[in-house]
Symmetry: none
Subunit: 209 residues, 4 copies
């Protein structure tokens, strides 16, 4: 890899990190490109060589961070299975992943603020299906793998995922950040029950022999 190539990668990383810090601490609206550039140690004009505008970098960050949440959750799940030498069924896996993500967001509320305030299903779907960074995972693949592994059939797997994601994400936002209408820990059981219900309704009766 040439020196130049290397240098470019460094600048990109620097920009992404700086922007993420600023976005999470002061919000997207109150962060200017001038500030991002300056703190990243590059010229303002250089910013535009890497990103179209502020919303471009924001979207890429959301995709990347969302992807990380899923990646961590999936990794933790695999870990858990290995360690305990346990098999968990599909429903259990979904709940495990949701729980892991909720806990992570609960401990990193600035991240939650950033993601939620700027999320749309469009960006999110992109996060689920494309890799921004080289080590990102494609959760959709993981999701379908999970479905196949269990040998269950779902009526509309994508709609089901959509309902769950929307329910969980919008629920988390006010529950974690404002404890409204109650603390996330109080909400959790009801939330999980609902998720289980959603899964049940989408599950087709297994072909019996």
């Amino acid at each position: 890899m040439g020196k130049l190539e290397n240098n470019k990668q460094q600048k990109l990383t620097s920009l992404l990190n700086t922007a993420f810090n600023l976005f999470t601490t002061q919000g997207v609206a109150k962060t200017s490109i001038a500030e991002i550039s300056q703190k990243a140690g590059i010229a303002k004009g250089t910013f535009y060589l890497y990103f179209k505008d502020k919303y471009d970098i924001r979207n890429r960050l959301i995709s990347h961070e969302s992807s990380k949440l899923f990646k961590n959750a999936v990794a933790s799940l695999e870990d858990y299975c290995k360690k305990n030498d346990k098999e968990i069924d599909f429903e259990g896996k979904i709940i495990f992943i949701i729980n892991h993500i909720i806990d992570e967001l609960n401990e990193n509320q600035t991240l939650l603020t950033f993601i939620s305030k700027n999320l749309s299903w469009g960006i999110f779907k992109e996060a689920l299906t494309t890799k921004v960074a080289s080590d990102d995972i494609n959760f959709k693949d993981v999701y379908y793998e999970m479905i196949n592994d269990e040998d269950i059939s779902l009526e509309e797997p994508e709609i089901m995922l959509f309902l769950i994601v929307e329910l969980v994400s919008s629920t988390c936002y006010s529950s974690i950040l404002y404890k409204e209408p109650a603390d996330i820990n109080k909400i959790k059981p009801y939330l999980f029950k609902t998720v289980r219900a959603i899964i049940k309704e989408h599950t087709l009766p297994q072909d019996s022999i």
Copy 2:
């Protein structure tokens, strides 16, 4: 009521109407106070005698419009019951109301854009519990009335309402506006099944005598 008082009311109404039109047609961010004031026929400085800032007027509008959605749905429900001389159970009423609101939003997508893009549970809760205009209804009261009428007991009625509202509103947004992951009409049955499941899980076994 003095002439003066009347004049004040007129200005307030003019401001609210103008702002609503501008917000829904061009978005909140691209609407300036100068534009609102000018089109409302008052001076820029006068705006500040009625509202703290742009977000103040925006929030009041969201509350008012949300309230209207519920009011219309409830009115339509009562109408339906009278006309058909039918009794509908609690679950049916909730579904009826949701359905009515979804249909209204589907036909008024600018309203949906405005409300969703600027919604937070905080504002929304306010909309449910307080009256902005004199003819607004307090949906929370209606909700508890509905519960009492049926003589059912719910474990955590507020959390239940919260889950339903969050699920429905975030689902509608991408489904109606972007048909993602599918058209609202395809989503509806799954959504209603989920709502029913949520209600079921919150319903406590009836005291039998």
Copy 3:
């Protein structure tokens, strides 16, 4: 006149004067609104309360300065007639005015640069027919008056004026500023001969009795 009104007028004048100085010394392109505002002692944003953009103020200045040139020339002509108690015919008046304007431009070459580099017939025509400042004259009226006074008839007075103005202005530019293809004083006799020829060709034979 209120204090406010007075204040506004002062600011306008200050802006016009400052802009004119900057435009003539460093050119329009190299003059920024920031600089105009700052040197005029007002805030940058205030500039936009008085002018749409840089070209708006530039056009108004050109109109005003052009008007002044004509005004001075006409005044000088009247003066000359009075003093010498002489009658000058139409052709002589036109030549007098042109000569006066050329001399003024020759002595104020920065003005010539400014006007010529930014002139278009559109702006110029406006300068001839509308008053920017209260003391501006409307040269077109003066022109037609001159025609009537002499009792001569011209075939196409407007086209004639157009030809003369275009010829003189474009000729002056390189002749005065770059002495190309010769000094204005060497060009003058040829120029005047040409102007006379233009007038002659447009003059219709007088009705004889």
Copy 4:
């Protein structure tokens, strides 16, 4: 000629063509060097190996295009003489050339806009006297040839040419592009009469034997 030399020529041509297209379609000010380079298929830095800056390439283009106008007009004139086996006198030739140029500009108004908006006598004179491309003509030589051929003597041939060129070019601009003060076809007769008058005044009485 080496391959390298050839390559250089190609790049130069590509740059000139691209710049001309961009200048005429969107104007000089709104065309950036980046855009020219990119569309010409070379790197931005390479531009500077061929031209000093944007105005350098612009001037060369104006010279070249002006030269082409004269070249075409002269060629057409010669053609006309041959075909009709006619002799045209000096005055007639000048009028023919002017007429031809006007018609060409009338049919190619983007070219007129480009040339006029960026013309100065300096650049123009260069166009008359120097060849930019190898097939350009030197109109000044042609002009003096025409004078000699006819055996007429002019008092100040250069000033005469200057007056004519300035008159025609500035007249065309607003007349063709804005039909101000009238359409070019209405202006033409007056313009030609004026040109004839200019020539007459510069013509010295022929030496009689």
